[in-house]
Subunit: 354 residues, 4 copies
């Protein structure tokens, strides 16, 4: 059944397989009158583009985006915005040997069991390539949230077991202008070494991304099931690589006392931010702080045990063109998902009051 | 805007305030022909009932459930199932002094900012009491998932900084028959002591709950946004107390190598379960393993700094009837949310194939 | 699968069987701060109450409504509003002989084929009694649309083949204060005679209801699938008795020229209203005019051919307590459905602009 | 707010403006394993293509469709199917004089009032050209309904005041192979004359289309709001030109007695079909029969009174390239909408039973 749409008012539908002819997104529910150009979306796409970092896949996709509808004379029309990105550098022949073999850690086995057939070329719909459409849609969402002064910033706080020394408040865009979108230069150096080391071993690495939202108005998020944190958690967990999401104090909160985890209020605002900017599912005006755990990329050249579509034992060593770590390419994807959820809730809040 | 409904095919809508006349749920999309009685739902509700454990609120609610529709001669009809639970022991006078004061860690401030008014009595809609309706709906969901042989088990793995020695596989229902739904008797003893100690200090504790799903068929979950893990994470994060959700290896996965986190396949199944039973958003037939971090209950009798609705500084000491820890009462709520998501995806999968 | 919810932002879910213990509605997405009392809803319910008109079923239901949630100190809270109406006068024994027989013109056969079981008592979920919940929800919707100055008026324009002489503009509330909600006194007299005549014959009558919306702002309705007229048509056709819906010139438009059906614009507004207040799915500020065709009530005492659940031929004469015509009782139901759709689109429009 | 998606399980989202670079559809929720080719979709598109009939717009669009995703090696994958149709022959210069003038009978005025801006070129999103995307999606839906043996047939029953002598049962595909998709050769001749006459006068004509569904299984449609007839009526009324929808006996039912409108059941099936194949919102196994009233195309060359965006009086004579009547081009659009609703309910029914 369907499952390629996110959002209630600001609705994003993505489509496309890794080695199909194209991928894209339709955004329905974007308000009229916003400035929107292909250039703005392209800038966001360029941030996640493969082949720019040293540890990324050598697959060279221009990821050129075309706006097919919903924009007229530079402005959104209130009608659906269709975005198209052609796949150009797909080399499907490299995947022919995977037609009947399930790659460990990938969706090969589960797609086959779910659908009875699958597109074996580059993971098909389950490929990380689908996230290009999310990033494009996120750039549209950013035009919506920008009208409310909202800013979303994601960055690397851990990679391959190397954790940065501090996070959260005080991290600014400028400190992230490096290959790993990481605010700690010393950590960047050590992470880079670790990446090189692991590449030698034919292995891959995971990490943790933190996302901070600044300037978010109070009152966004809906009670009960569509809480702001619930929708953010769902959206972030929908990124294939993510195995955990936490907000504010996160898992550490489990070991605190109530008197420690409660954020006292003062006339000038909250005096701490264990809550991560969300109380009872609704934004409280403080920074929203989220962290997601990313698993290592499952495509490794080290030999793995697996089975084929007949259920027989076999082994597999995956060559092809793959990243060593989803970081840094996942960073703009996290930003995009948060932008999409915020845009949706910003508009939902308008629908909630007379 | 709305936000009180969860699910796509199996749809649960809850309603009700803590100190209103009643609360309840409507379940639309439950298949016909399932056995369903008030007794089954009551058993689930009794598990979360306040006043049964030594560290729970002394508010005495029978939580008697009435099935108002959708069941005829003991069987579900395919029509909406309406469940009603009357509030009987609500003592609103105890909340009168909170009419103009925001309790730290609660939704008082954010509800007021969102709606411009709020029900100050016991947290209104934001109260944990709303979860009674979820548990009732979860009992209906369990009838659906039961037809597929699915079993959901939640239990305490940490409380007040005390972590149990092992978790996951091998934990069985019988070992959870204690006040804290915790499989480690030694931990139960220490947690109990910690609860007593903290109650003396007028403070509260957090913890971690683990949820295991057994017998889940392969192929459940939809690609991209409605991944099984995304929907589970969203559903669990929609519980007011939850600040983090992880699946399988969770946050620990960030420090692993690809060769460590990939689960090899063999003719007999997967050889490990870092994935936590979900690959590319779709169940792989292994146990689904989830953990959620619960914050300490924010109602503490220790004095806290806060502000009133006029924005003036004030202090607050919360008496009233409150639990010391959401654990164990949150345990059946976690089970219920997982049951609801699984029931929904079980039916979605049927809609996805001809 | 589900199907008991209508609306996108203003969401109404109804539940309940004709002879179950109760029926009701949950309204999620109602804005906060609106005045709402049980008295207001009761007034609407009293308008459709059985047993008040001479040609209605003698079943005496007080249809007493209870607001269970979402209203505090006389105002809506922005949280779900649950409404409860107990069934008190249901006489299920009168239906025992229908347990295995399908009544022609009713949902008995189709429910049985769809679900494999059915509640044979008074039509179960398919009963017209379900519309009480719609009317109650419509009264809440009226509080929303009232803030925008919208007024909805429905009335009888045909009954048993007797058509009134004029309709549309110029019809006012005062002229509808008769047993048949019909603005033409002469027609009322003749319709009343026809009803008496047909009751003698053990038969029933159909009719046509017209609905006029006044004061509706321009700009409501969404392009393409969620056009205002599409949503109104769907909502009205969801009333069991309705077999046709038309807007503005309706079916007569098929015989007109473009130069006749186009409504010219002038600085003071449109010069005619063939469009019925909706252009390209969006309200144009003129009166919205709709008409629905209602079939005769299928429960007749005249002998009918039918089959039983085994597929064997049998005959049936339906006694019991039934109306002779859905008019006038359907009139407030039509108003309610239109109010619900308008409330939803009024809020959707807010979500569509920044 | 959004509004470009229809369906619950089989979900169709269309996008595109008349004079934008392209238009298209995304179909999410199509089951895997169905044969699907561009040729199949092209055949459906060719049926509604402009410029093929003598009374159609001379705009020459190849309407070439490209499948961008969701199909691999000739079969649907269960993933979203993206369809792309480039606009090639759009002549926007012909619309420049409409930039500040509202065409009567079009959405110009209401779009402008809703959004504060509009695409004046050929109606933008409100153009009948959007229906090309619906027809393409309908061809995909037909692959789904075809698996259940469902056949949908639409045809002209009235045009310009000329009504055919009989309709419904007994009409077969072969009799519709004429320019007007009309089963009555004598009516075709007179309609053709009427079209020629009206073209001379610079005017346009309306008509009525009937749609018959054969082979539909019993049990499709959901109770209460998502009744099969409610969803069909909403879907058909969402076609810009449609001002009325009726089912079975339709408006004529209002004048019948219950004993006339009830369809008696016999062991061999229903003995008549006043119900039009739907009872209580659920299909009963008989032919589904629908009729829609289509207004004349509002673009006429006769001079009309109107206003400009400043609210000043002006007159307008529309040249450009326009059809004289939406019939026959609307016929495949009606078929497509019915196919889409049926495909959705066929899959919903699967989700409704265990």
């Amino acid at each position: 059944m369907s499952g390629s749409t996110i959002g209630t008012v600001f609705r994003v539908t993505t489509w496309g397989e890794s080695h199909g002819s194209a991928l894209g997104a339709v955004i329905d529910g974007c308000p009229p009158g916003l400035l929107l150009s292909e250039g703005q979306i392209q800038t966001a796409l360029d941030k996640r583009k493969p082949g720019e970092q040293r540890f990324a896949s050598p697959r060279q996709e221009a990821d050129h985006v075309e706006i097919l509808s919903g924009v007229f004379e530079g402005k959104t029309m209130g009608t659906p915005i269709a975005l198209l990105i052609r796949n150009r550098d797909a080399d499907s022949s490299a995947y022919e040997h995977l037609r009947t073999v399930f790659r460990p850690g990938h969706g090969d086995f589960t797609y086959y069991r779910k659908y009875g057939l699958r597109d074996h070329r580059g993971g098909g719909r389950a490929s990380g390539r689908e996230t290009a459409a999310r990033v494009a849609a996120g750039a549209v969402a950013a035009q919506v949230t920008g009208t409310a002064g909202i800013e979303v910033l994601a960055y690397t706080v851990a990679l391959g077991g190397i954790h940065i020394s501090r996070s959260g408040e005080g991290i600014h865009k400028e400190s992230l202008e490096n290959d790993l979108f990481c605010p700690d230069p010393d950590a960047v150096r050590r992470m880079t070494e670790r990446l090189a080391e692991v590449r030698q071993q034919g292995d891959t690495l995971g990490g943790i991304v933190e996302i901070v939202v600044r300037g978010c108005p109070t009152g966004l998020g809906e009670p009960v099931f569509d809480k702001m944190d619930a929708d953010l958690a769902g959206a972030l967990m929908s990124i294939g690589t993510v195995k955990g999401v936490e907000i504010g104090a996160g898992f550490a909160v489990a070991d605190l006392l109530g008197s420690e985890s409660n954020d006292p209020l003062s006339p000038g605002g909250f005096l701490s931010n264990s809550a991560g900017g969300i109380l009872a599912g609704i934004t409280n005006g403080e920074e929203i702080v989220l962290r997601v755990a990313c698993k290592p990329i499952p495509s490794i050249s080290r030999t793995q045990e697996t089975v084929d579509t007949e259920g027989h034992s076999t082994t597999l060593s995956i060559g092809g063109r793959h990243d060593i770590c989803v970081i840094p390419r996942i960073v703009p994807v996290c930003e995009a998902m948060v932008q999409i959820v915020l845009a949706d809730h910003l508009l939902r809040q308008k629908a909630g009051t007379l």
